[in-house]
Symmetry: C2
Subunit: 198 residues, 2 copies
DNA sequence: GCGAACGGTTAGCGGTCGCTAACCGCCCTG
DNA sequence: CAGGGCGGTTAGCGACCGCTAACCGTTCGC
């Protein structure tokens, strides 16, 4: 019975592409890139299978666009926080809070970025890695400004550790959103600023 | 040309099963469970494809055994550290150091446990989750003993955050092993013990 | 010294997956 | 009101994947 889907009432919320990316992110986060089929993504947005190819060139392109845009958003947001801050301490606080908010509000995107970088095509991976490197670099500079005598490799390792701490978010959910944000921000800043030796 | 493989010279290192599990863990960590084929695992240990079924009932069984044994090892090691410690502070320090050492010495196992829990069969996942829950419970008790007025849900969330911090290890590698261990241990303990409010 | 068990091999089956082809109805524009 | 583009549909192709079948050489206990 070929019932035409009777085009839903205007509403014009997020575009089809964005809908698809959100659904795919959710699925990739839960089952892994190769554990999700084209048909799974399609039916998650109410269309079926190959219709996705009206919006994306391939499944790889979906992952690529997903990870590229999240990396750009993190980098842009991070740089904005840094340049609007007045001192190194404030910059570090803003950076942490920004990352915490992003992770809490986009848990599946964060999960996908953490787990599925290796499933990108080579050109996409290069692009995403470049963006990530710039983001880490920004963190490292701020940390070195805020923490007196910390060596550069230590600052880099500490930055990665703090990313791990903050990004652990999607796997817990024992506190409500704002308590969680406060806890993660406090723990991250404490670990960065008050850890001896460093 | 059916050349018989000429059985390598005794040597009797790790058993075949262990070899296979180690190779599979490495591959699962890098490409994801569904991104790795039976033939990939086989050729990583020098045999080819279906020979794996002389050692494991299925690909799922490999993942199941991998995650079960790592969860048991963590739980057993954690409980041992707790019961051999004299006070709450010491127990927490030992627990952190134990987890840090484990993560640094078994990066791909840690990665697989973090990322591929969802690819387990239902019975395996139940078993692994039960073991993990007991491990987290042990941490929560120690944290509540060591940190005066911390509420239980906060302690739980903080434990997960610290796991994230420590398990971020495989993705960095800017310091040598021992410096990394010291840094992660110090950051984790600082975050747990010196974060205000908590 | 024989036979079973062990741990390999290759061939191939059935199912799934990414993607293309071919088609179609709706809506907008000239 | 013709026609093109947009965003859907189903059918199906070719490749790959997990796993089994059938076979075989080596080793070891009796």
């Amino acid at each position: 019975m070929p019932v035409p889907p009777a085009a839903e009432p205007a509403k014009t919320g997020p575009s089809r592409r964005e809908q698809i990316l959100a659904a795919a992110a959710e699925l990739f986060a839960r089952h892994g890139f190769h554990g999700v089929g084209i048909d799974d993504i399609g039916s998650a947005v109410g269309i079926s299978g190959p219709a996705l190819y009206r919006h994306f060139r391939s499944k790889d392109a979906m992952l690529g666009e997903m990870l590229t845009s999240i990396s750009e958003e993190l980098l842009d947001g991070g740089l904005a926080r840094i340049s609007s801050a007045t001192g190194a301490q404030e910059a570090l606080g803003d950076l942490v809070r920004f990352h915490v908010d992003f992770a809490l509000d986009n848990p599946s995107l964060i999960t996908v970025q953490e787990r599925n970088l290796g499933n990108l095509t080579d050109p996409d991976r290069r692009k995403v890695r470049a963006l990530q490197r710039r983001y880490v670099e920004a963190w490292v500079e701020v940390i070195r400004d805020a923490v007196p005598a910390i060596p550069e490799p230590t600052a880099r390792a500490a930055a990665h550790a703090v990313f791990g701490l903050i990004n652990s978010t999607p796997h817990s959910r024992h506190l409500d959103r704002d308590q969680m944000a406060d806890l993660l921000t406090a723990m991250a800043l404490t670990a960065l600023v008050h850890t001896p030796v460093s």
